[in-house]
Symmetry: D2
Subunit: 395 residues, 4 copies
Amino acid sequence: MLRFLTAGESHGRALVVIVEGLPAGLEVTVADIQEELARRRLGYGRGPRMRFEVDEVTLQSGVRHGRTLGSPVAVQVANTEWDRNPDKWQREMSVAAEDGPTRIPLTQPRPGHADLAGMQKYGFVDSRDVLERASARETAARVVAGTLAKLWLATLGVDIVSHVVRIGAVAASPGPPPALADLERIDADEVRCGDPVASAAMVAEIKDAAKEGDSLGGIVEIVAHGVPVGLGSHVHWDRKLDALLAGALMSIQAVKAVEIGDGWDVAGRRGSAAHDPITWDAEAQVYRRTSTRAGGLEGGMTSGEPVIARVAMKPLASLNRPVLGTVDVLTKAETVSFKERTDVTAVPAMGVVAETMVALVLADEVARKFGGDTVAETRRNRDGYLAALRDGPLG
Amino acid sequence: MLRFLTAGESHGRALVVIVEGLPAGLEVTVADIQEELARRRLGYGRGPRMRFEVDEVTLQSGVRHGRTLGSPVAVQVANTEWDRNPDKWQREMSVAAEDGPTRIPLTQPRPGHADLAGMQKYGFVDSRDVLERASARETAARVVAGTLAKLWLATLGVDIVSHVVRIGAVAASPGPPPALADLERIDADEVRCGDPVASAAMVAEIKDAAKEGDSLGGIVEIVAHGVPVGLGSHVHWDRKLDALLAGALMSIQAVKAVEIGDGWDVAGRRGSAAHDPITWDAEAQVYRRTSTRAGGLEGGMTSGEPVIARVAMKPLASLNRPVLGTVDVLTKAETVSFKERTDVTAVPAMGVVAETMVALVLADEVARKFGGDTVAETRRNRDGYLAALRDGPLG
Amino acid sequence: MLRFLTAGESHGRALVVIVEGLPAGLEVTVADIQEELARRRLGYGRGPRMRFEVDEVTLQSGVRHGRTLGSPVAVQVANTEWDRNPDKWQREMSVAAEDGPTRIPLTQPRPGHADLAGMQKYGFVDSRDVLERASARETAARVVAGTLAKLWLATLGVDIVSHVVRIGAVAASPGPPPALADLERIDADEVRCGDPVASAAMVAEIKDAAKEGDSLGGIVEIVAHGVPVGLGSHVHWDRKLDALLAGALMSIQAVKAVEIGDGWDVAGRRGSAAHDPITWDAEAQVYRRTSTRAGGLEGGMTSGEPVIARVAMKPLASLNRPVLGTVDVLTKAETVSFKERTDVTAVPAMGVVAETMVALVLADEVARKFGGDTVAETRRNRDGYLAALRDGPLG
Amino acid sequence: MLRFLTAGESHGRALVVIVEGLPAGLEVTVADIQEELARRRLGYGRGPRMRFEVDEVTLQSGVRHGRTLGSPVAVQVANTEWDRNPDKWQREMSVAAEDGPTRIPLTQPRPGHADLAGMQKYGFVDSRDVLERASARETAARVVAGTLAKLWLATLGVDIVSHVVRIGAVAASPGPPPALADLERIDADEVRCGDPVASAAMVAEIKDAAKEGDSLGGIVEIVAHGVPVGLGSHVHWDRKLDALLAGALMSIQAVKAVEIGDGWDVAGRRGSAAHDPITWDAEAQVYRRTSTRAGGLEGGMTSGEPVIARVAMKPLASLNRPVLGTVDVLTKAETVSFKERTDVTAVPAMGVVAETMVALVLADEVARKFGGDTVAETRRNRDGYLAALRDGPLG
């Protein structure tokens, strides 16, 4: 229902995204998008590019006089380096054959990157032909799409929050999942962690890793509030919402693990301590679970409780010291891969990308469950569903 | 390219699966399917149904004189209880309106199951209308589809193996990923664990949990050998093979977490210890990685190394003792959910289902990368690709 | 949203269809399906198979006590010849390798059939490996799926009717599109034609062609009544309802042309005589068109007027006299293709298949526009939409 | 496999298209795209916009140093009026809410356009919110995507040609389908018709219609040469190539009918004159058909003969004289719809769009049948297939 394609190379002219399937009447501004893109640049330990980068956003279609038309929304995020430093990238990434390769090709694929597999798959000798697209820069285009999904979800009272719960060896102390009201405070934290003590230790860990020319991974938790019961379905494997979320989250660059609710941990428990008891809240006239072990998902469907997922990111594979062995694909000579000046960790920013992917999955399910070609129509259908639940035999 | 739909309720007449997109000329027998279905019933701690159950398989279409026709393959797995015990299920699950509901409806949704969310989403008062389809019985239909995918992959030298690495609190000691040659020994083990010491402890754990009327979850590792470099792609988020695998694995009933390679653990390491160095094997004329941290996937593509994933399953939500609180949806009275005689754990069998899902994802990518309408054509295209790699500038 | 896979060979054990995406609560009986299958066998000029054939329908899943569960609906249509005449087909179409080929392979592909292209694509020497699946027998499985779609549409007041407007050289005289009330009379006609004079001439034409061992094609018109305004969309090429209808109708065996509304004819008119003026019906509070030139579709969307399409079928390629030249693929010897005893025309039956395809497309769009997991929810959303149209600024 | 999304409103800032799924190594230049866009503006009887319009094309991603990277290709076609005439459109089509509606809304939907249905579906009072996207200007974005598909097909020897065979009442005399060598001559003709006598009559017809303020439709024939046998498939309805072509062609703005081969006409013939006899060309070692009645498609698959389709376009619904009745949606007052200065016919240009849609469908099927991530790999797989056909039992 909601589909989107992203395009663009890391140092190319621009990133482009087209989102098809949004309802008409959704209020969208360029500032909304820029704000989310700015959140994606957050985090202590980002390299110089993040600080320089200002995302020049152009809404190219699908929005008129402040609200969507139902037609595909195209957004361009220009590469500001492109015009500022034309000698560097306009030739290197030129689309024209006559601009040819200007430098010696990158023939030493970096371990932990798409480089070697991509060169083999697509027949390239220059790993730049792979890395420009494999780069996490692409996630900026996803964040644009995610902003649109979030704006739509917000009209239904659905909000998505993320926070960092681990960087390298430092874990935040466990606590209740953050609410929308906590987001400003989380974003203001240097590593987007809600636990100030852990945050300080994370920053120290980043400094230490930076000193050693090393990088750090970590874990992010994403929480969606206000999600109505019954998104996703148990009836077919590829309609299970946990499957859709896991796929979307695992698609983020450098992510290597995904869990729903207590996930990994619950595999070691006994059944009597692994599930969420059901109660009836007579006041609010809704069913509740007295714990959050399932992460708001049972049988591939939302239960009405907050949806909770956690995502593990490996340390960046670009290091500041020469330690990862590789070979030159042309000479087969052994060498090492390293790069001066790079980010130490991208975990805080990854949380924003993870929110984006959750938003896109949920928005797609909203479209499927409630239909609707306008914001008002979808909301009316959602209201009718909730009222029927309340007034029906189960309510 | 490869698509399949499964149908069937747990106690209905039959499970049915249609697989569309297989090449012509693939050798398939009913025995191949029955053998995989028998593997799905393996494991100490399964309840009585698993022992009684014999899967009556009928190949209904798409295969003639022992090999596929390229047309959709339909397979029916009859419910053997249906005919044996007609009074019990033929009326309860009858398609005819006149057979009406014969017993009082199940109005006490079980925590940890699809029951309540499904009843709310689909407007049911009787949770049987949900649980019959949400049941893990459905995975038998997937195993049928997976058998076809495995048979095709085998013609390309791709094999998939799984083993249990944790049940409840008991973990197997770490070791190298198992090979195809290990599968017979693993399947012969009571809990499909390759570590005999751990296996014995797992069985003890199962006995202990059984005695207490409790259930157990666990973790399975799946390994695919012989996968050529370059399946999946870095170019778009929904073409990344790790994303596709994560979605497929998370779709298995009761699975709550998925990791690729060192996954979860790697988030706590530094970059210098998190990636797989690249070397050139001059003998075999292929690139190798000197470790398996990435699980054979870099940038969303296979690297040519074994593909390794791990999957965590929560304990079964049907317990033998009354501990999980719930409510009656009609009266709102508080009660507890339990069931006499049930499986203690399904982790060993889940490994076979996980193999299935990995096989289906890989077969789909094989179709995409190599094309081909016959087994011979796909293999010829694969051979041409590998020869071009060997003879090209990178080889 | 609504997806279905069909499987089964013409003389195999059974046809199988799985339909995924239907709402819960839809009333379905085996008799509903049998009735539509019987309509598919209508028409003067059908061969002996049609008269013998009784479709043994088994609803295998997705329906309990007379209404759908939201889970996939699997239906099997057994080949009654399979058991009645086991020596003939059970060996010829056996899935077992040991039953081998029992007769000399069919090595003379028939012109106008899938035979030769299919043999080349899929690597077969025996054209039976192609023709068994390419046969129009497969449309029985579609009719099953279409019955479910029609039942759902009927809950929304949408009905689909077809009638024959040409067989061979004989055309019905033009008239208004038939309504649901006309269907019984049309089905009772020997060639499903609403014009008695033309019907008699068509039967004479069929007799004449039969005498000469020849076959006949023709044209069918399909009309959908009660379709709400706004199904389909102008915003993207692959969401245009006319495109979806054209693809679905052209997929029917032997169909070679499709038109919407006045279609082909309108290309020769001037613009002033080619479009449907808009008026406001103050009584009914709806917009109307004063003509039906557009066939109820403007800009890829339904206008609220009846949806009208016409479909042209080529004459059957199996003739009763030896006139179509072909070659033996093994010897390359020239020969002719013919078959004793065959249908003269299948146009009346094709209309029922065309209704089916229109129903499946419309049901899919209903799911997309209105969402809903139960029949009641979809209807409520549709009602809300129509009420908003009436009460909004345009109403 | 090949997917693309288009975005952009007719008078908005730009059209944007992203094409995902192209192989790496395809040579692409901006000039290639501009040339096809220029062909789309051809034809006597186009209005002033076509003459002024110069398409400013920017290749934004997916191409580096003259060839594709396998990553998504994004192309922007700027609206040259946007900068040249900022007061007119930059405010009217501004994305910013503060630019509000500057003129009275268009509340009189035009018959024969998407206007009214779109306003009702999407909740608009101003028909500009619909017509900007429904406009045939969108086909420029498709032509961009089609150029890429054509370039890929050309590496496999597949070429696509179109020509006008009817405008209004004037039909070209029948002749053999044009070849690639004829395209330059066809494009040079004022109405893209290969028959000079008919061309002159068509121009006269256009002049006459123009004088009367009327518009004209017509028919275009598209021919694809060099298509290998076996694209598409008989095994499932939605894999039949004729179905895919019909859907793609019917999606073109104002198209109301599609036929394959002799299509419509063949429905009136007898079977003995309706099919293409098969022969063996011992010289070329290929099977041939001695006629082109089937349009190169049998059983939903290409036969190896030229693929031939015809498409009927209704007259443009924007007329130069006040004849089409409509109502004001706010007042319900009756009025007439017309527009000063408009195109008389777009049939010649539509042929180029139709080529585009055929190219996109064929390229998708090439990807499916032959796989491949580089131009060389797909070609190698195609060569292997053709060699196997030649050397196999049928060759």
